[in-house]
Symmetry: C2
Subunit: 205 residues, 2 copies
């Protein structure tokens, strides 16, 4: 199925899931493509079209049962399980990621953290011990970890990525401000706050 579904559709599903979860927390049980669209700034037609790639989740006349749709979307996105994630880099950003409480109920759990600084190796951050980067490949391979977050300086990011891919990592969230070169079977997502701010300044007067 993945083969014929546009990536741009997959990209919106997590937003639907997030908004639906929020509606559920607010105590609502049923919603419609119109209501969801209004909340997300997306047309109702697009939401129905997107969802229709995966099946008929709604009922004519009434809409979508939120708990059911959440469950289905979790299955589609494969976050009805908990993925172990490795964090590379224990600077300010790595530390913030380790402290972040928002991963666990959305399908992810940070499993380990690595850094190359002798001052940091062996130290604790919350419940985590910082491992030396030399042990990165061994540990990731042993645990079968498929997802990593790169929070190292830009100059080291490509090298780290290569090593991760070598031992089976297939999804990388890259916080380093540079484009990574990876084989086609590896997915990369980027977070660079400066890029996102530069996308807005153009519109400022």
């Amino acid at each position: 199925m993945p083969g014929n579904i546009p990536d741009i559709v997959i990209g919106r599903l997590p937003l639907y899931l997030r908004a639906l979860t929020r509606l559920a927390v607010e105590g609502q049980e049923v919603t419609s493509s119109h209501e969801l669209g209004r909340r997300l700034g997306i047309s109702s037609a697009q939401i129905r079209k997107d969802l229709s790639h995966f099946g008929g989740f709604g009922k004519q006349g009434t809409g979508y049962h939120i708990a059911y749709l959440v469950d289905q979307l979790r299955q589609v996105l494969k976050v009805d399980q908990e993925w172990e994630v490795a964090v590379i880099g224990a600077g300010d950003l790595g530390t913030a990621l380790l402290h972040y409480k928002g991963f666990s109920d959305r399908g992810f759990r940070i499993a380990c953290v690595f850094d190359n600084s002798p001052q940091k190796i062996g130290k604790n951050i919350g419940e985590y011990v910082i491992h030396p980067i030399d042990e990165m490949q061994k540990i990731i391979q042993e645990r079968g970890i498929k997802i990593a977050m790169i929070a190292v300086p830009a100059e080291k990011a490509q090298e780290v990525a290569n090593k991760l891919i070598e031992v089976g990592v297939r999804a990388i969230l890259n916080y380093a401000p540079m484009t990574l070169n990876v084989p086609s079977e590896v997915k990369v997502q980027y977070i660079d706050p400066v890029v996102q701010m530069q996308r807005m300044t153009f519109y400022l007067t």
Copy 2:
């Protein structure tokens, strides 16, 4: 000019700028749409088309002079100046943002930080003093700040955004995991690492 240029084109310019800056650091003086495209995983035709919206920056047969193109892109994106940015929320994430050194040479400077916790107000983070959130509107208005980063819990994000917009903020980088409701003259960009990871798990076997 902004009116007729697709937003998706604007979205790629910061990536071009970032890659070009990197090439310059590596000591290169000239590049081509092919080389840039290879680095970014974008077709050369698309790069030429995107740039052509703003003028002819290259020379047939030779390509683009990097320093010149960097300069032009900075002007287009309006990051040939330094924008003051307000940070709302001084938790782990806010702290990481305040410590981050990568803003200043790309057009931004954090000007002030706000939090509502009595334990944090008045404390220092690096060179910054944490201001009470009650002073947020006054300070932002006085300084004429147009850009803010929201790093508060999801439940508070909409309220904070409303207050920011009230006093003139026109660009928001939202780290809270929720979609904001804003008037059309305000730009919002989102950073939610979980959303980005959920965009990759779909493709994992």
